[in-house]
């Protein structure tokens, strides 16, 4: 008896613990600023997926409550007690079997219909006037090419608020997956194939995303930001990206030396900046991110470091510690070369 009581108490305590856990998680998930949350979409694609998810979620909650309540009821009600009679040996009931085969089938219809409707709506097809942006996945950074504007950039994806956008995506190496939860679901990005995401962002802001398909050593470091700009700001941004970078004459002495260091040919060849990176009018490397307007971005190194002098210095000093496996080699630059290079890179607005 005593033991039974202790068990009852234990079970109640466990129930309370699980309750607190659940409540804690829900509270945590609802409040606060979650830049990569699937629960707070800001584009039509995301709204459709979110509404479908919520429909299924509440059905799941209902089924969960019914089944777990039945389970708890059975355990409490039919638990062996002193003097409980031997149970009747029932082997089954056709009526019940039919009933609980049909019940889940009916629930599934309520899930399947909106599912198929949503599938048809989120294929990645976009209206004629959509802004098409080519997205290329690389180990481990994202490249964007705005063919309409002749702009190539990386990591920060700028789109205008309220305009349909279509991402036309492929990979330069292995399989990646483009995922900005706030605009909607992810889509894999594969070598030899082209996949699409279409969305119309409706709120200005900076939203986080990152590669969702395991793509090798630094998969965790393949991040991105989606910058939804007001239409005017977006136009300004495009014009800024189209303009040539500051001419050499406007550079101060340090930056000028940095520019020379950037353009220098080193041995081995892949230790030269220009072997992999492009800066319009200076270098035409295509393996790494285009740096023409590096300083206008919010982050570097695939979105893991902020865009500032300190981070650039750390990155140039030791890229492989910051992003293991990266193609960017450790070039053994002198501290002086690093500081002049940083000074130069910061002028690339």
């Amino acid at each position: 008896m005593d033991i039974t009581l202790r068990h009852e108490r234990g079970r109640r305590r466990l129930g309370a613990l699980l309750g607190v856990m659940l409540a804690g998680s829900v509270v945590a998930a609802c409040g606060g600023d979650y830049p990569q949350s699937t629960l707070h979409p800001t584009a039509d694609f995301g709204y459709q997926v979110d509404s479908l998810f919520r429909t299924i979620f509440w059905w799941a909650v209902a089924v969960f409550v019914i089944v777990e309540t039945m389970l708890m009821y059975v355990i409490v009600k039919y638990r062996e007690r002193p003097g409980s009679p031997d149970p009747r040996r029932i082997h089954g009931s056709t009526l019940l079997e039919v009933a609980w085969t049909l019940a889940p089938a009916v629930v599934l219809v309520f899930i399947a219909v909106p599912t198929i409707r949503t599938i048809m709506n989120v294929t990645g097809d976009a209206p004629e006037d959509a802004l098409v942006i080519d997205v290329v996945g690389h180990q481990w950074w994202w490249e964007y090419r705005y063919q309409d504007f002749g702009v190539t950039t990386a990591t920060d994806l700028h789109v205008p608020q309220g305009q349909p956008v279509q991402l036309r995506m492929t990979s330069a190496d292995v399989i990646h997956s483009f995922w900005v939860p706030k605009i909607g679901g992810k889509r894999d990005v594969m070598p030899g194939r082209t996949t699409f995401i279409a969305f119309t962002p409706d709120s200005v802001g900076a939203y986080y995303g990152q590669c969702a398909e395991f793509c090798g050593e630094s998969h965790a470091h393949m991040r991105l930001r989606l910058m939804v700009d007001p239409p005017d700001d977006f136009d300004t941004w495009v014009r800024g990206q189209q303009a040539a970078p500051s001419e050499a004459v406007t550079l101060d002495a340090d930056a000028q030396r940095g520019r020379e260091a950037f353009a220098a040919v080193r041995t081995p060849g892949n230790h030269s900046c220009l072997a992999c990176h492009a800066v319009e009018g200076l270098a035409f490397g295509a393996l790494g991110p285009n740096l023409t307007h590096l300083a206008s971005r919010s982050s570097i190194a695939g979105g893991i470091l902020p865009m500032d002098a300190d981070a650039l210095t750390r990155w140039l000093r030791d890229p492989l510690t910051i992003k293991p496996g990266s193609l960017m080699p450790d070039i053994d630059l002198t501290e002086d070369e690093i500081s002049t290079l940083v000074a130069y890179l910061l002028t690339l607005r």
């Binding site: 699937t38 198929i116 594969m190 070598p191």
Partner: protein
Amino acid sequence: MATAALTVDAPGFGSRVWSWITTTDHKRIGILYGVTAFVFFLLGGLEALVIRAQLAQSSADLVSADFYNQLFTMHGTTMVFLAIMPLSAAFFNYIVPLQIGARDVAFPRLNAFSYWVFLLGGLLMNASFFFGAAPNGGWFGYANLTSTQYSPGLNIDFWVLGLQILGVASIAAGINFLVTIINLRAPGMRMMRLPVFTWMTLVTQFIVVTAFPVITVALVFLMFDRTFGTTFYSVAAGGDVLLWQHLFWLFGHPEVYILILPAMGMVSEVIPTFSRKPLFGYAVIVYSGLLIAILGWGVWAHHMFAVGMGPVADAVFSSTTMLIAIPTGVKIFNWLATMWGGKLSLKTPMLFSLGFIAMFVVGGLSGVMHSSAAADLQQTDSYFVVAHIHYVLYGGAIQGIFSGIYYWWPKMTGWMLNERLGKTHFWLSFIGLNLAFFPMHFIGLLGMPRRIYTYDAVLGVDAMNFMSTVGAFIIGLSTIVFVVNVWYSRRERIEAGMDPWGAATLEWSIPSPPPNYNFTAIPEVVSRLPQWSDTEMKAIPTEPEGEIHMPGGSYWPAVSAVGILVLAVGALLESLAFALGGAVVLVVGIYAWAFEPFEM
């Protein structure tokens, strides 16, 4: 044959070891499977704890990126192929012949061969850690990351070869158990009198022998790409990276049912026993198991909703996946109905079975959420899926297996496991798993992808990740309690007798542990629940009536298995000498095995 004599006469350590190496007794092979798989389970658990320690906070650097990738690859590979599958195999081996009234499996030496191949395959795969080259491409090993261009080291080679070896073990065992269950049933043990665990074993083995060839093909392609420069998965040469995904998941989804159906079988034995009621809807439970196995072949592309297969394929695979919820739900309702009106004895095996139902429902419902292709675009490859698989595989398969362990332990050893420690194990494991895996739903919904070794504090998932890590360590603690229980109960040694639970099936009608011939006389079965039946089964005599012919020991299965290992090492080192040497050992082993006299 000298070996057989040793088994009988000499109790020395060397000969005891030798008797295990040469054994063809399904019960001893079952124990070998169980112990080996449990060691791998601990290893996989240790890997999980390092993973969770690394993820306890954002931007941590306990382990390097590459080592983390090795850890999660080996955690997944180990738990699927080296822990859950062989833990189930331990019960197939030990229990199925007893449940059908047989003296052994159909091919006892093939059975030993399966075990040795499994052991050596598992060791080869894990030996990679000593070379700092453990597999690091994920348990799903997506092409073209696994190509020599993007994975030049030996890591993927260890994985490809290890999995192929394990496939040999699984297919050999699968055929063995199909034949055993169909052909070696005692008189009167009609198909619809088979215990549900045996039924689910039969269904599982059918999936094994049909699914493993598919992954073998995929692995051979990959091995050829890596070793001989073929281009099955090479985009530049016109190959297709999605070929791998289709082949892998065509195997991979049926594999999920290979992992869960045996646990469902165990739960279907435990619940009636501890409710003192026959299983409700026996036939429906059997048929729904079959239906799950069949439908399981038509859902593989639900792992690929994000690849952009097009709306028609997405809709079809969504629908077929949802259909699986029906037979699964039917099973759960039948278990509830079995308990309804019963007399529930909440002993440890029953607690784990109840835990299985409660947790499997959670995993099943999140599974329905994934089945919706459009909704899955947010969930796939996020921690939401990690939550789902762990509710299904830890909350489901492992809880079910522990239920089976506590249930059949007395039969296997002759002594009982301690109830108090068993209950402590259950509650710690139940609390730990919910603490570890429930927050992962939210971590995923808040945008954390899976398989990343570090994450940014800006995601806002630090607290929940910490909670999850604490839960994982509680699971670890619960497993230690189980080990302590085994040690303690072994010293306590409470005799089990033939039938400590008052259970209904045939294995409880003989001594614990059973003699090597199992049944003194092959029983004549007159009912589905022989021990509970009103029509008395003809009593099994306590002493055998005459000499019982049992298969003798043989070391040739183990020798053949070593041949396969050497062959694989040859492939790994690209050494023709090793490969030829392995081939010779294998061929000699198989011939000697074939010409060996069968009787002692």
